[in-house]
Symmetry: C2
Subunit: 348 residues, 2 copies
Amino acid sequence: MTIKDIARVAGVSVSTVSLVLSNRGYVSEKTRKKVEKVIADHNYHPRQSARQLASGRTGNIGFIISDLHLSSTEYFYTRVLLGAEIEARIKDYYLLLTTVGDSFHHPGDTPRFLKGRDVDAVIVAGGVPAKLVEYLHQVSIPFVLVDHMHHSLDTNLVLIENFKGALQAVRHLISQDYSRIAFVGGSFRHPSIQERFAGYRSALDEAGLTSPNGGTELQYLIKEETSSQIGYEGICTLLDRGVKIDAVVCGNDTTAIGCLQALRERNIDVPNSVAVVGFDDIMYAAKTAPALTTVHVPKMEMGIQAVRLVFDLLEHPGSGVHTRLIHTDLIVRDSTSKIQVLSEAVSH
Amino acid sequence: MTIKDIARVAGVSVSTVSLVLSNRGYVSEKTRKKVEKVIADHNYHPRQSARQLASGRTGNIGFIISDLHLSSTEYFYTRVLLGAEIEARIKDYYLLLTTVGDSFHHPGDTPRFLKGRDVDAVIVAGGVPAKLVEYLHQVSIPFVLVDHMHHSLDTNLVLIENFKGALQAVRHLISQDYSRIAFVGGSFRHPSIQERFAGYRSALDEAGLTSPNGGTELQYLIKEETSSQIGYEGICTLLDRGVKIDAVVCGNDTTAIGCLQALRERNIDVPNSVAVVGFDDIMYAAKTAPALTTVHVPKMEMGIQAVRLVFDLLEHPGSGVHTRLIHTDLIVRDSTSKIQVLSEAVSH
DNA sequence: CTGAAAGCGCTTACAG
DNA sequence: CTGAAAGCGCTTACAG
């Protein structure tokens, strides 16, 4: 079945069927109904490739994510992708997924959907090489960075309330009478981690808890990709230095899980001796022992907002760059609740 | 730049350029070189949509996964997807991802890439409604089921050595002097779990460990989707029944993590009082306390094999159905190693 | 081994 | 509000 067949059966021209299909232009109610019935009766679906070729639009959105993010420690961007997929489906767009390594050189590393221009726009999730962002900018394809920024280019963004989230987490710790609050985090060049760290410091300042030397003895900051390994090493390093801490704020949940592991191995009670706070609220955060207090980030919502922003860009070209902030919430669980009965399964 | 421009610059016909592009037919070495140079010089890439329309092929593979698998407890199929993506890229195919719910009715739930026939073939990862499989069969599109089967249809398959894996896991437990070996698993209708359970029972039979009443008092089998919650409840149920166990084999790692949590809360020492074995070797398996002994399943390899099988089907239509078995390996970690020094961080 | 030409199934000005 | 026709950029028999 082609559009021609539908036109013939419905007794109208091909143009009219096309107008009905794309839901545009002026078609009389009567004609529309008639055509729609024939389409439904024959279970007709236009061929995407023909539409693409004729219209010059692809109906695809490229989704770029780093190898590391997708394949190692992160259970974060998968959910962003899922949200994006669900939103894209509404407007009948397809998501074309690809991964990039930690270096980028055109054309060897250029995602193939960019070479053939098989996408109308691109979503970048998480950290990628700056050169890739510059390339996207240079070829002037509409694109959105999710949970990532370029140091100088002004781009469309979907960002998390990292600063506020960390601030609230530390305020919570302080309200629970913790005062020697450390920070452990990897991926320190990632803007989200930097902002979380900044929120942490502001909260300490605000409470007058900043130590004379700036509190650097309480900080373990590493450039490497965030992981549980870094949390493990972070705690061990601080303790081995003899630093007195009664709480630790982590760059994200994965890191916090490593902290919990190290504390467990050293028989340090959480939360009575040391409290632990994560960030992201990945699924495993609720499964740790004790269950992890963390800052909830609505990951699917990030994907949804990214796709909506893409549609806006496509519909209103030349409207400048836009930023959408994603709201966070502190989730208080057992890892920061000092007074508790041990060995009791209440989380179920 | 279009194929016409390339032909003009190279001084050949459009047909010749097309032949060079698709790397088919007979083109003289000299002509080929000449054309390839022009293509490279102008950084020309053919428009997919035009190729698709003219050839009748889409260059896309549909990837279907259930909502539950992608969005809840599973960190398994994401890796299968990644492997598939990497392999598809080699032949310049795109993967079109979609999720399906736990019921399926045509046409409401039909993935849109099937409606418009935007894919040449389909990969189904994990459990999906039987009706969806029947629909794929009925519209006679080439498709491969990964880690899943239909009860009566004969389809192309990529399967795990579940039986052998479970058999080896239990043999290992027996060699470590465990003898009261329980099985805890969800998704009991899923063929992989059934096979794992069958392997477990065969190993017990083989060792003469089967109890008079068939050992059902050692089994906790649930139809619900596999999760850590099920592992938690499974252990609690068995213990509350007063069943004596010294080891537990789980349907998968996620379930095993729930078991570990329950045992920890009841202050039952793992592995000295009870050993725990998982299946899948998800990333978190190495991060649990104690680290989880499990059966390694090469998840990316499953995706790679699925895509290769798809290509075979596309290249050799009518060659019947094929099954590819994915090899597994037992990974022995701390959760089954009775004699160990406690509180020592050796896994790093 | 190479070229001329039809055709894939749509969209989009344009004319009426 | 509707129709006729050009055109999107390729592939593929077919002829030579």
